[in-house]
Every structure is written in structure tokens, then in C-alpha cells.
Symmetry: C2
Subunit: 173 residues, 2 copies
């Protein structure tokens, strides 16, 4: 799919068919995340593809009981570890949020290019998700998304964004 | 350009031609960032396109004196503000790093699709960049990139990434 078509028609999908995507599709999406850039190429990330129904059910309860998360055939959990790099002098141990978000954005866009829906979930309980999936100390959860074919065609352009003049400027803020 | 071609051939470019990209190209890149998703659609971001030579020179000194940053015709600075949303219960005031990184990834990939080089710079002094560009209190710099046509064809697939088995797993970490 053409790049801008992917970006323009990616939407948060909140209703999924149960069909599990073919393995070659999942492989291409994973590869898009794997090759993402990161600070000094540290790649401080790990992605868990959850398909087990009982684990998905537990994840729903760790994500504010958003039922549609468990409706998808796959739930992807992205986690990362502190790279001991304090970007900008103020990020402290949170610099890995930047790197993991880059790779997860690759994954989200690749999914769209395959006709798969996602919904970047920000509401999750880190410690609870870690216990459910056996994520070790030192790693923290950055993002969660359901992954599957949309029940209805929800891919369309968005119209709910700030106007360009509010978010872009030349030379000075 | 086809989506996977963009993702696979995006590389950090460290040598630039002085040519300023046409406005319609810059507009499409900006639009890709503008329509990016963010937590609860808060869009806590702002992008500054710096073309003024004296400002670029100052930015170089605020980015660890990486000279190639100033060689590019444009330097893009992404900043964001605290959305008072504590993702995962541990991100505190750093949750906006996730949102700004999503939008900046859109911008970086869109640039590649237009044949433009970028290099995501993590080494910058937040307070110094803020002073140079008049970025107000409440905003912080998340990322910086030079933007311009590569001096040599540096777009090719990467081979320096962790193997899939190290970063992906099924159901459990």
C-alpha cells in the first residue's frame, strides 16, 4: 500500500473479527518493528503477541476493562528497558519511551498496510500486565494494542486534528 | 512509495545537499505528522522548521556539535507538553514522549517517502534549544532532525538489528 494512504487511513479500530491473521502477515508486521531506528541503535524493546484466550481476558482487566481489546485475535504488548540515556537532560530513565514508541508506530502502520486494525491503548496497569505476561524487572510496558481484521470498514481519513497553524511554525516557536 | 519500501530503506543520513525541499513536499511531510494518533487525541505536540542559518548554527552547538545537523537546509525540532496523563501508572509527566514520538515517526517516514533524509537526534540540550527557538515553559524538546536531500544515496536496508527471536515472543515474555 502507498505510504500516505497508510498514514491517512489508519484509524483506531474498536471492533474486530475473530480471524487470526496469516503468519506471513504477522511476520511482515513484526519485521517493520524490528528494523525501526533507536538511539545509538540500542533497540531497547520487546514485543509480546498474545493469542491465548485466558491471558487476553486478564489483559482486558489490566486495560481498564476495554472489552474490545480482548475481542481481537491478537493483543500486542510492547515493553522496553531503561537504556541509561537521559535524552535532553530531562528524560531521566524514561528515554526508552521514545525508542519503543518509534518501533510500535512502525508496527501500527504496517498493520494498517495489511488491512489489519489496531488501537494504541494508553490505559493499562504496568505492574498488572507485567505479572500476567511474566515481564521481568527492568522492563516496563509502553503500549498495548489489539490486532485483527476490523469488523466494519473503519479505515478512513481523520478530521479531528488541530489545524496546521497551531502545531507548526517556522524558525521560532 | 510503497509502505514497506519506506520503512526498510529509511536510514540515518549524515550528509546533506543544501537544496531546500519544495513547499509542497514539506507540506505533505507536515501533514503526515499532523494526522498522527495520540492518547485521547490530545495532540500534545509542536514542530518547528528551522531554516535560518544563524539559528541552525546555534542548534548545532545545542546538539553536541554534530556539524551535519547544520548542513541540512532544514532542522526540525519536535516539542511537546505534559498532558497530565500517567500512562501505565509509572510514566508520570513523561507520557507526552510517547505521543510526540508517534508524530515524529510519521514525519521521519514521510520524509523518506519523498526522497528526503533525516537523522533522529537524541543528543540535545533541552534548555538550550528552548532558549534558541523561544519555546515556552511547559514545553520540552523531544527530538531534533536535520531534513534535506542526501548528498549520496544512503537509502538502503539495514542489517544491524537484533534477531527476531530476541525481541518477539508469543503469549509470555
Amino acid at each position: 500500500m502507498e505510504f500516505y494512504e497508510v498514514v491517512k487511513t489508519r484509524r483506531s479500530i474498536r471492533s474486530y473479527k475473530p480471524d487470526i491473521p496469516p503468519q506471513d502477515v504477522l511476520d511482515r508486521i513484526s519485521e517493520a518493528a524490528r528494523i525501526a531506528p533507536s538511539g545509538s541503535n540500542r533497540q531497547p524493546w520487546r514485543f509480546i503477541f498474545v493469542t491465548d484466550p485466558s491471558l487476553k481476558k486478564k489483559l482486558v482487566s489490566a486495560c481498564g476493562n476495554q472489552k474490545f481489546v480482548g475481542e481481537a485475535p491478537v493483543v500486542v504488548v510492547a515493553c522496553g528497558y531503561d537504556i541509561k540515556y537521559n535524552r535532553g537532560g530531562y528524560m531521566g530513565g524514561m528515554s526508552f519511551l521514545v525508542d519503543v514508541s518509534i518501533a510500535f508506530t512502525h508496527l501500527i502502520l504496517a498493520a494498517r498496510s495489511e488491512g489489519l486494525g489496531t488501537c494504541w491503548i494508553g490505559e493499562f496497569e504496568n505492574e498488572k500486565v507485567k505479572r500476567i505476561l511474566g515481564i521481568p524487572d527492568g522492563y516496563n510496558v509502553v503500549a498495548v494494542t489489539p490486532l485483527g481484521y476490523p469488523r466494519e470498514d473503519g479505515f478512513r481519513e481523520t478530521d479531528r486534528r488541530k489545524p496546521m497553524a497551531e502545531i507548526m511554525s517556522i524558525n521560532k516557536f
